[in-house]
Structure formats: structure tokens, C-alpha cells
Subunit: 342 residues, 4 copies
């Protein structure tokens, strides 16, 4: 199989490229950059790929549709909106790691992304690829979920779907390493500023809030809103979403644990912990989402901790899950399951 | 003034020693260790004090009461319970950084600390030294608050005192650097395990929970409980308590901001931020507690972020505040106000 | 192929286990622990392997020789000396990651390791597995090189072999992350002590010094000694050996570069850089040793920077290289070539 | 005393401002910025100074000479060259933290700084303020030494002055935290790139090389050159210079130790260690330079490790030492001696 990848120079793109190269069903990964840029060696564009012979070719939709069977976009918000049009028109398979086609409402997109939204019909047809809950087979346009959204939704799904919590009580205190902020230089990711620090950012304004809400309301229309906070950590990789909600009267620890275990028992990439709580590090380098649950009968609140590698389960790894679904490959093909130790 | 310090070898003790040495009203700091230990040079016991000529003498209550005017305990939980008895009996001034005399209930102490509790009468007479709210002048036994308790209580005080929030809705997601865990070697503070990681610990079991509750209920008897989580950060110093609560109907952003501003306007060591949110780093090396407040009208929740240096405002710095109050020294004497930059 | 691994609970053992599991020629990895310990699940012994079904069985030499075709020792210094005896006597293939059989002289071993040395005959028969220079095929006992030794020897080989430098001028300032110090709790690897710090240790006393010297003198008997310093870094993985030596009169930049390029042109896991210098991060997660060379005509000194992942090229990765050589598998089988990004 | 400070927005300037504010002889610190900029509050320009009421006024030489008694420049290379002219012409006291007036040769400045050099007469009159060796009293223009130069020169002084080493054998492997690279955003100080990494930079091209050489040759004209390498560390503050040199025949450990002890016995800010080696952390937050010495009789090489806080002893702290000398204040006035613990 030949696949196209646009945007290999960003962190998600780099990781996705590594995954695709090692995927047993992929024979060749064709890299594409800006339409008007000259062809460039990958090793020049991304020094980390030193030694690679791969080239980044100028983006050319027709050529891609001729030589590749699917295209992955690991491009910045707003870029895919433009680039994807030709592929959408041709019903050519797209797996889009950007946020452009995740929200179904154009006005919501404009409000949260501060950019022009894609075409309404295209938005409606896009498949929200939260891999454990939505099968990508038969779809053509996969909007791969955001990193914070993935960790938070997987930590909330059983509670919301089964109505175990008060729908207006959800709070997520989410933390992320700096790779989530991308490669662009910024004052808050300067080493001297990030190191030995915690920085809260985009409070009530993070673009993953509407994405989370859209999915929660699809599961349970009674959820009115979610309180969601993001904090930048002095680490490179990883997201921890610490979730709190008020449990409905009569719901027990056992009921909560069973809800998670039942929901994920067939899912190889979500692991539920009831005895101990997962640490962030145990998922780094893997496609796992590890979830721990603690019910506090005194406060009547459940605490759920959900950890992922933001660049794998939160980006490139989930994209491979969707790729596997789309082409009916084995569910775990090409997906790393061993953490970076120690 | 001559002061005694027991427990200089722990992190809180080290910092307190530095503060006392620089305090304008302190002429001499006498260091004491175990009763049965030989006198030892500070530089030997704590290599970081290389070059110091100070000695750590064996603990001897009578001698201390003869030569010193106050004693600071920076000892581990359980140790002060024993050592303080003589001083309590003599009404000699004590500032105790341990948790031994913070809880007024013996059974609560036993439950949360898993140790024998001090004498009930002594517990009742101890003064809980949350410096912004309780004046130490006229007291003899000051129980200096815990680090997590300080950050969380200062972030909650105006909300709870003025009844601005639903009393059963309080959630604190608190994070701390490793210095809070002390000097003792442990698997979860081994560099290889802590670095590039987040580790949730003592969920619903942290000994600062009853301390926070005792104070909250003193302020507002309707608060039934608090959901409180602690996460270990890969940094050395600092606590961030991220607090969430449901705001009562009709309470506005302005009302919330005014509540904080009014409460702390006379307090030099609590700074309220309404435009931007404080970062952790801006308080490291200082005695400040910086607090930011964001009301979310969609969720009807207020988010309060409260940051302190756990070893200063959360330990040695607040001890100096209590010391200043106890002896009627100027409120900010000997307290650092310039952060460690950059 | 069935292989045995003793010592999976240490960092080198963990990594080696991951590598062996992914090795295309390995069907099964049998794990062994202490002779007198009960069988234990891997997930219990090493929480990072959560979800694994593997068991650690009590060490039993006869059983291992019956069911496995090779044994890997990832045990502490001194342990292999004992455990390996039976295998040596039986000429059973051993790949030993410990330092026990690296030095050919018993007295040298005693001096540097402060332990009883293995049997002299066994030491003489052991093969020092510096993979780029010594072919393991036909050997039975492979002493896998130390991490510092690997980085330093690969950075020195062309210079020493070809006599390009003054033999008494070699200085190596080597730095390592904390994973090199292993899992054992110690004051200098406590997070609070390691973080934001540099700690020089074992100056002129590191046990890799005689290992390096033994190899250097095999290459060039004129090398009398090496000045070698080790510094502990606040990072988890990686070694950088910064090497300095005085270049012989008449030797040019070009001659130095060619020496490295020629030496390593057939070696897939050593990459030579002449335009820019490698960073540590570009080899983490891979089996590469990346080497940069800068000649300074003013000082007549050459600076060589050699970087490796201490747990891969410096331990488990090189062990796999030796395994591939021993069994004539393709040279790069099972060896990671993509760094941990970003 | 009123003092002027130009360049408070950079890291050295920030620290120097903190030091000056706490200096017992300083009544007021007047801050100045760009000549054509409007007055701006310090808290706006440097968020870390939140709460400060200080203003940054436009630079105006005449005004400064009227109201202040000395001017500190904490400006970038090239800026002081211009701004200082008026003060030099008027013989007004200047303490310059930039590199502009450190080198006495214009051509050397141009070669290493890639900028136009200051006036030759001014360069000749500038005093190189290596505080332990050059008295600033009676001078008017103090060129404060560079951070790497300070650590390296203090570690070399006794060896070079007393001719204890072969003059052509000096090698310094120096490492620095990111604060040395300043506030400017750059790819190599982006958190994601710096964290868990080591990056060698400016090999044989660092602008502190000629500064070190100028001083070494003043001490001992036989020193022909120095091999000097710089490596960027994943920490915020601190420099370690690891120095190696060949000891002359007959020189003993004792002689080496005595040389250091004698040289620095009257110097409160240089501490010599002969039993153990200093760690980087023990000087962070202080003005100390801590030096450890180990002679290796096998290689006939001495290893000297010299550690400083690059922003204190390597910048603002040494500037205060020069300030104290210039105005005959007590030698340690306003200089921090307690490290940031733990």
C-alpha cells in the first residue's frame, strides 16, 4: 500500500511518519509539503531524520490520488480546510489529524478556532474518528480527534453513556507536555520559562472544549457543558486528564468499575485500573489510554485519571487505528504497545 | 533574639534556618538534633551548608528554655508530639512546622496520620497559624499549616467565608514538586521515575484533607467535605492548587473578584490576579501566595488557581510570619519577596 | 528460537526484554530470577510491564540449557560470576551484560570492582563484544561492553588504531543520564538532588577505565593511560563522551575525517558527522552511536563527541548486535533505528 | 547612593536589579531602556516583576550623570559600544556586563563578536573586572567578565600563574544552563529540544575564548592557546567548567592543593575543595565559585571542576563585587551566600 503524508515537519507528522514506515501493510510513504515549495530532503527539513533518503515533494492533489491510496494530513489548523477539498470532492480517503473537520457546526468552528470554517456539507460528512467508539470502515473523511479530547472522552464515556453521573457536574483538569504545543517558538515554551514551572493556559477557551462537548452530547444529550482547564507541564510528552464528577445517588464503586471494564473489555488500547492509578510514564511511547477510577463516598464524587501519549493515542497512533479500521487491517497493526522505559 | 531550631536536616528546616539567619530581629539560631546524638557540625549533617561553622547540639529542653526565647520544630510527624510536651507545660513559645498539633481531634489525627495523637488539652490550646486569618500574638503554641492546606485554604477563603459557592461542590486538584515529599529516598521520587512523569498519590487519603476541612468548617459550617487530589510533579519546588466550585445563582465575576480583593487587600503576601493567571514560577523563592480567578458562566463554576513555594509560604516562610506576629515584629520582616529568576 | 533472560527487573534487562520480544528470530523469551525465589509475574515485579502475562521463573541452569538456546545475563556486578559457571563449563552460549567477564586480568577486576574475580581461564576465553570490532560468531561467552566504554571506544578507535594522536594525550569528559546508575535508590539520584544539578562522580575510579584501557592497548600498545571523568546529568537516558586528544604533527582535518569515515563505512550503527555535531537526543531510542569530529589547528587538538543511548547501544542494543553475530542473523535484526521524537 | 541600570529586561539585568535593590548602600535604582522608547512600567516589561511600581525611563546620558553615581549596562553585545561613549568621555563610572570592552584588541573583538569594535583608546582604558585578581578601586570603566570566562579562569589561575602545568595542555569542557543563552527565542532553547538533551555549540568559536586567553597570557605568557568546548544543559542556571591539564614533572597533589588554597585564602567567594568535589547545585543562588581538584598520577593530569551560578558570579554578582571595590564598600555587601535549597 502507498500512502501520502502532508506535514511531516510537525511533531504529529514526524511520529506518524515513523509509525507508517513500520506499519506492516504500508509499502511506501510519500511525503508532501507546500504546493509551491521545491522538493526537499526530509533530513534537511527535519534534522532528527538524519540519514533518511526520503524526499518531501510539493503538494499535488492529482498526483497523490494517482499514486497513493489514502492521504494523511498532519497540518496546522486552517490548512486542511483548503487542501482537502479536492480529495473530498473525489471521495478519496483522508485521515486528517488537524482540527478542521472535527466540529460539525461552522459557527462553532469559527468561534473556537478563529478561522474560516470548511464547507458545511463536508463537515457533516466527516467521520469523528474516536477509534474505540466510531468505526471508520466505510467512511472516506476521518477527522482524527484532538489529544486532550481523546484522553478526556475516553475517561468520561462510560459515566456519560450510562448516566452514572450528574450531567452538569463534569470537571476536567488536564495537563500536557510541551510537544502538544508544537514546534513553533513561543515565550511559554522557551526552556527557561517552562522548566520548573506550571502554566495554566486557554482557560475556558481551549478549542478541544467544543469537540468534547459535541461527543458528550451525542452520547447523552443532558450534558450541558464541561469545565475544562489546561496546564502546561515541564515535560516533553504526555497528557493526564484528571476528571471529576458527582455520582448519581445509589451508584457504587463496583458499578463504576464495571461500567469502565464493560465498556473497554474488547478494546486493546484502553486499559482500566481499579487497584492502583496509572502514572503518565507508563503510556509514553505506546498507543494506550490508561484509566484509573476512584469513588469517594464522602464527597459522592468520582475521580478518573486518564493518561495518553499525546503524539500517539492523541494523534498519530489513533490515526493508525483509524487507518486500520478504514482498510480492515488487524486492529493493532503497526501500533506500539511497549512504553519507553525506564 | 535567640531562637532554637530542631530538625535543620530536613528541607523545611534548611529553609527555615536560612530565613532565621537573615531575619533582622534574630541574633542567633541554635540548632538541635536528636536527644542522644552527639554534637555534629551542620556542614557534615547537611552538605549544602558547606562552609558553615554552626553546630547541631543534642536536644535538651531545659537548656533551650534557658538560652532561647522560642523554639521551632521542623521535625517529622510524630516527633513533635513527644518533644513539645515540656515546652507546652512551661508555656514556652513553640512554632511547630509538623502536622502534629494542627488537628483538634485526636481521633482524626490517628485516622489520617496513623500515629498516636498528642494530648487532647494541648491540641485544643494549639493555635492554627494560617497567618492571614489567625493572629498569633498572645499564643504560645503555633501549629504552622501544611503546604497543600495553605495553598488550598487561601484559594477558598473568600468563597467559603462569604458563601459564594455551593458548599458541597469544592474540588481541588493540587500538584506539588518533589521537595514536598522530603529527603527520604523512595521509589516514586527516584529521578528516573519522577522525571518526565506525573504520579497521582494518596487520593482521598492525604493528611491535609482533615486540616483543610477543619478550617473550612470553622469558616462555614455548611461545607460537608472536599474532593482533594494530589499529583507529584517533575520539579523541585512549588505547589499549584487548581480549585473548582459551583457558584451560587446570581453571583457575578465582579462579585467573585471583589471578594478576593477585599479579603486580601491588607495582606502583603497574598496577591490577587483578575486579568491573567499566575504561573507557578513567579512565587518560587518568595513567601507569596498568588491567586487567579476565572468564572465560567456556561458551567456556573469558578476556577481558582493558587500557587505557593511549598517550602516558604507552605512551610518556613509562614513560620516566619507567625514568628513576626508572635513577637510583634513588622509583618514582612525577614520574608523574601523576590522570586528566583529567571 | 527460545532465549533465556536473567535480570529483567533492572533497566538493562527491561530494555533487552523489549528488544528480544520484537526480534524477528525470537519465538520466546524465558525470564529467570533468583534461584530461591518463587515464580512471580513480570507485571508484579516490574509495574511498567503491566498487562504482561509473562512469568519470572526461579533460575535453574539445567532447565535453561534444556529449553533455551542462549542465555542473556542482565545482572549486577558479581552475580554473573557465580551464575555463569555451569554454562561456561558446558560451552553453552552466554551474552553477559554485566562487567564480570570484560577484564582479562583477575587482579584488575578485583581492584576496580572490589569483588572476587571469576576464574582466570573463563576470563581468558570470554569474548569482548564491542560489536563493530569483534565478531561474536564462533564464540560462546560474550562479555557485552559497558555503556561509557562503548561511547568512548567508538569515539577513539580510528585515532588510536591509526596512530593519529599522541598516545598519552587522551582525555574523555563523559556524561550520563540517571538510568545508567540503575534502579537502586541513592541520595545522588533522588529527584530533588539530581534535578537542576550536575554531579561529578568516581573521578579516576570508574570501573569502565580499565575496560577502555584494555581495548585501547590492544589496538595500540603505546597508549599508557586515559584521563576519564564521569558526570551525572539531570536526564533519564543517554551518554555523551566528549573526547580530546593532541593530534600528531601533520595530521589534517581531512585525514581525521577520513579515518572515521573509513573505519565505520560498513557499520550501520555508527554514523560519522563532519559538518555539524550530533546532539544527544538524536540517538535516544536507537542503537546508533553518532560521532562528530572537530580539529582545532590552533591547539593541535581534536575534539570528538560520541553519543549513544546507554540502554541500547550501551547495553541491550549491543547485546542484540552480538546475538545477531553469534547466530548469523542479519546485522540489524531487531535493532531500533528511529529515535524517540520529538 | 543612586545607581542607573540599563537593560533590566534581560536575565542578567533582572538579577542585577534584584541584587541592587537589596544592596545596603543603594538607595535607589533608576532603570533605563531604549533612548526612543516611552517610559514603561517594569511590571509590564518583565512580568516576573509583577507588583513592582518601578518605571523604565528612556535612556538619557545627561540625566543619568546628573542623578546617578554609577551606571550598569546589562545590554546585548554591540549596544554598550554606542551607549557608553558619553560616560567614557566624562570619566563617569561604568560597570558593563556586556562583552564589548573586555577584549583589548579591536581586531580580536571584530573576529569573535562579528561586530564593530569600540574605540581603541577606550578599550585600553577599560578595566577587566575579574574581581579576585583585579582591584576596581580607582577605575572608571569596568568590563565585567563573561560567565564561562569567570568559571574557567578561576579554575586555572593558580595553575597558570605558578607554572604548575604544561602551558599548551589546557582543555576546558564547559557546560551551561539555558539562562546563559538569554531570553531570545531560538530552536535550541525550545523546551522540547533542550529537555532530555545535550547540545554542543560554538566549538572553538565561543567569544569567551579570546577573553580567557587574554587573561591567561597576562598571567603566563607561555600559554599558547586553550581548547574550550561549550555544551548546553537541560537546566536553567549554572555553569560547570571541567578543566584538564598536564601537570609538570615533580608537582604533587599537595602542591596543587596548596596553590589553590593559597591563591584564594583571602577570597570570600572562591571556595577550594580537596576532599570531595563540588556539585553545581551548591552554588546556585550564591556568588560563590566552588573549585575541586583531583590529580591523577597515572595520567599526570590534573582535573579541576569549577562551578558558578552564571547569573551571579558569572554576571550580576561579580558586577556587585566590582561595585563594592569601586566605591570601597565591604567586599561582600549585597552578595548572596546561601544557595537555593534543596
Amino acid at each position: 500500500m502507498h500512502v501520502a503524508l502532508v506535514g511531516v515537519t510537525g511533531y504529529s507528522g514526524m511520529i506518524l511518519y515513523q509509525l507508517l514506515q513500520q506499519h506492516p501493510e504500508v509499502n511506501q510513504v510519500d511525503l508532501y509539503g507546500h504546493k509551491n515549495a521545491k522538493a526537499q530532503s526530509l533530513a534537511t527539513a527535519v534534522p532528527q531524520f538524519i540519514g533518511s533518503q526520503a524526499m518531501i515533494e510539493p503538494f499535488a492533489a492529482e498526483k497523490i490520488m494517482a499514486v497513493d491510496q489514502v492521504i494523511f494530513f498532519a497540518t496546522s489548523a486552517g490548512v486542511t480546510t483548503e487542501l482537502a477539498k479536492t480529495f473530498i470532492a473525489a471521495n478519496f480517503p483522508v485521515i486528517d489529524l488537524s482540527g478542521d473537520y472535527r466540529l460539525r457546526s461552522r459557527s462553532s468552528f469559527k468561534k473556537w478556532y478563529h478561522k474560516e470554517a470548511p464547507d458545511q456539507a463536508a463537515l457533516q460528512r466527516a467521520h469523528y474518528g474516536l477509534a474505540e467508539f466510531h468505526q471508520a470502515s466505510g467512511q472516506t473523511y476521518i477527522a482524527n480527534p484532538g489529544c486532550y479530547a481523546t484522553a478526556t472522552l475516553l475517561g468520561l464515556a462510560p459515566l456519560v453513556q450510562q448516566g452514572l453521573i450528574e450531567p452538569d457536574s463534569i470537571i476536567a483538569d488536564a495537563k500536557s507536555g510541551t510537544s502538544g504545543a508544537g514546534k513553533k517558538l513561543a515565550a511559554n515554551t522557551h526552556f527557561t520559562q517552562t522548566n520548573e514551572n506550571l502554566q495554566v493556559y486557554k482557560v475556558n477557551q481551549h478549542q478541544h472544549i467544543p469537540e468534547i462537548m459535541q461527543q458528550l452530547q451525542e452520547w447523552n444529550s443532558q450534558v450541558p457543558a464541561i469545565q475544562f482547564t489546561t496546564t502546561l507541564l515541564p515535560i516533553t510528552r504526555g497528557i493526564m486528564s484528571s476528571i471529576y464528577a458527582t455520582v448519581k445517588q445509589g451508584v457504587t464503586t463496583q458499578a463504576l468499575q464495571h461500567a469502565f471494564q464493560d465498556t473497554y473489555q474488547e478494546q486493546p488500547f484502553v486499559r482500566v485500573f481499579t487497584e492502583q492509578l496509572p502514572t503518565l510514564k507508563q503510556v509514553i511511547g505506546t498507543n494506550f489510554c490508561d484509566i484509573g477510577i476512584v469513588f469517594n463516598p464522602i464527597t459522592q464524587k468520582v475521580f478518573v485519571v486518564s493518561v495518553i501519549d499525546n503524539l500517539l493515542k492523541g494523534a498519530g497512533g489513533q490515526a493508525i487505528q483509524n487507518f486500520n479500521q478504514l482498510f480492515s487491517f488487524p486492529i493493532a497493526s503497526g501500533l506500539p504497545q511497549t512504553p519507553i522505559l525506564p
